[in-house]
Symmetry: C2
Subunit: 354 residues, 2 copies
């Protein structure tokens, strides 16, 4: 389906660009230990990094254990990237934006990872980045690591896995991490909860921009960029810019103390992209100086801890053999209408606690 060459977590030795290649090519088909993964990641081996992310995304119990060990080892090397969330409705031009924006970062000699959070495509199990052909430059850039969205699942699970993927990328030395998400919904909240800076891309529309996006999403944005401000579209883009600026004035001051800017940009003509890069770095510098950067990261950590515990509670519950058996039995009874699901939950909890 995808014409795009992306690092799918399968070893792709031809684009691995560091000294440990030969060693790891030998390990290609063999099982790696947590320590092998750790070393490969720290050395910046993207083949190993990709495989480690696959382990994180797996739901197999043995993989979960291995994932914990890998993350545990990587933890001391994490936290040093600038984490940027990017959202916007389908059609706003996220891929082309990321392509131009990403090149600015890699051209400055900085390593860039591009991830995606997309828990919505349940049936097709698709991915955001997977079906795109527009990031061809970036996907061939050895300074960039592009990882398509894994798959569907509970949003809690997706959030946890994405956050862990960010940690591994940081351990692998990526200095900018872009997390793309799509649409106007809960996935934005998830991405917002794991980034330092949240960029909202908007299209210049026909006057009804302010109804076109939900207030809640706009309030989360640290910057709004009007895309596709190409030659013929600049006037419309500038109009939209003015409208958003007015709208933002009506919002309460952001917790960061930083007033979100509205800018226009054209990914195709490469206009205004470097301004966004500078603006993000200004924001980071500002929020580091007023300590908000750290406060926010702490709050995110707190939330992550709660999510992690919730996942662990679930796993422990279903790992209990007797519980699993009773669960199956009761589920059948619920399906057949013999008991209701609340009664079933009560029975299961009673058994679990006995």
């Amino acid at each position: 389906m995808s014409k795009l060459k992306v690092n799918k977590g399968i070893p792709q030795p031809e684009i691995v660009n560091n000294s440990s290649v030969n060693k790891f090519i030998k390990l290609k088909r063999s099982k790696l230990t947590a320590n092998d993964y750790y070393k490969g990641i720290i050395e910046g081996n993207i083949s190993i990094l990709g495989r480690a992310i696959t382990i994180i995304e797996s739901n197999l119990p043995q993989d979960k254990k291995l994932a914990s060990k890998i993350i545990e080892k990587c933890m001391p090397h994490t936290g040093n990237s600038i984490r940027i969330g990017i959202t916007g409705v389908p059609g706003v031009g996220k891929s082309t934006f990321i392509e131009s924006f990403g090149k600015i970062i890699t051209n400055k000699g900085k390593k860039l990872a591009v991830l995606a959070v997309d828990p919505s495509s349940k049936r097709s199990g698709g991915s955001i980045l997977g079906d795109k052909t527009r990031m061809e430059d970036l996907s061939q850039d050895t300074m960039a690591f592009i990882r398509p969205s894994p798959s569907a699942g509970s949003l809690g699970g997706v959030a946890q896995k994405s956050a862990e993927t960010v940690l591994l990328c940081e351990a692998a030395g990526y200095e900018y991490i872009l997390i793309e998400t799509v649409g106007v919904g809960q996935s934005e909240v998830v991405v917002h909860s794991m980034v330092d800076f949240f960029l909202l891309l908007m299209l210049a529309g026909a006057g009804d921009e302010l109804q076109g996006i939900k207030r809640g999403i706009m309030e989360m944005a640290d910057m709004i960029a009007i895309t596709k401000a190409d030659k013929n579209n600049q006037q419309k883009a500038n109009l939209a810019k003015a409208e958003y600026e007015n709208a933002l004035h009506l919002f309460p001051l952001a917790e960061s103390g930083y007033s979100p800017k509205v800018s226009i940009c054209s990914s195709l003509e490469n206009i205004g992209i470097d301004y966004i890069y500078d603006e993000i770095n200004n924001y980071i510098a500002f929020t580091k100086s007023n300590k908000y950067f750290y406060t926010k990261r702490k709050a995110q950590l707190k939330q992550r801890m709660e999510e992690n515990i919730n996942e662990a509670l679930k796993q422990q519950f279903y790992a209990n053999h007797e519980i699993k058996e009773l669960f199956n039995k009761l589920q059948k009874q619920v399906e057949d209408g013999k008991i209701n699901l609340y009664q079933a939950t009560e029975k299961l909890l009673n058994k679990y606690n006995s």
Copy 2:
């Protein structure tokens, strides 16, 4: 903020239209028992129904207990409505559509409940229906019950609460339940998991419709309706219709065995709305005859049971005083970078299991 008169779960005796009004007005400020709620709901008292939904939406432990009891009592009276999910990007005209569509239902003498799932507006804690002024007709219709989206929170929690609200509405005799959601994201998956029929509203655009909405959402749709097919817009709408029909042909056959239709409609000129009503009823009849209707409801029940257990596990964990204390202590250590969150989770689980 809202100019719309909606039933917000606060008793609004002036629009209560049944015989038990006087009795319940006396109970207005007093605490009701689970049995009081049950009786009021069964009698179709919308003031009591609104208050019961508020109890369901509450996160207070005593309310959770009361909510369980109310639902437990109502369970035998549930399951008899047609549950319809409605989605579409902001600006597609969901409110005006629901207004026209809802009037068709109530004009046929059927009781209609309109709910919303909108977990995305985290900061403003807003609601989808809350800030709309377009459903004025429906909101004054005694056959209709409109309930704005409660508030933000974890999607799991929102799903559970919405599903329980559906149950209460069914017990109160509502025959059609519309659940509105917004955008292109995870909330669609949640709504899809609790309805019999999923309607996707689409705007006729500038030729790029097929990129404008995610494949995963289109695959979930049991019908696509192109909105705003008013006089000047009909040609464009028909073009879009043809495009979507072509696109749907490329999809695998739906599990229901029913081929999703594409239609055009105008809520303002009341064109094509009754066709959608008929089509939904055709779908329901078809899937009841091939049993898919029941298979799907069973699968939904199964999923709900899992979610319910997960919520119960969380509640039980944090209700443990010692655990809560250790949690607070470890959370502080995680924030200060003394341990990482995976170590904290392990310690908490060890304590919990000891």
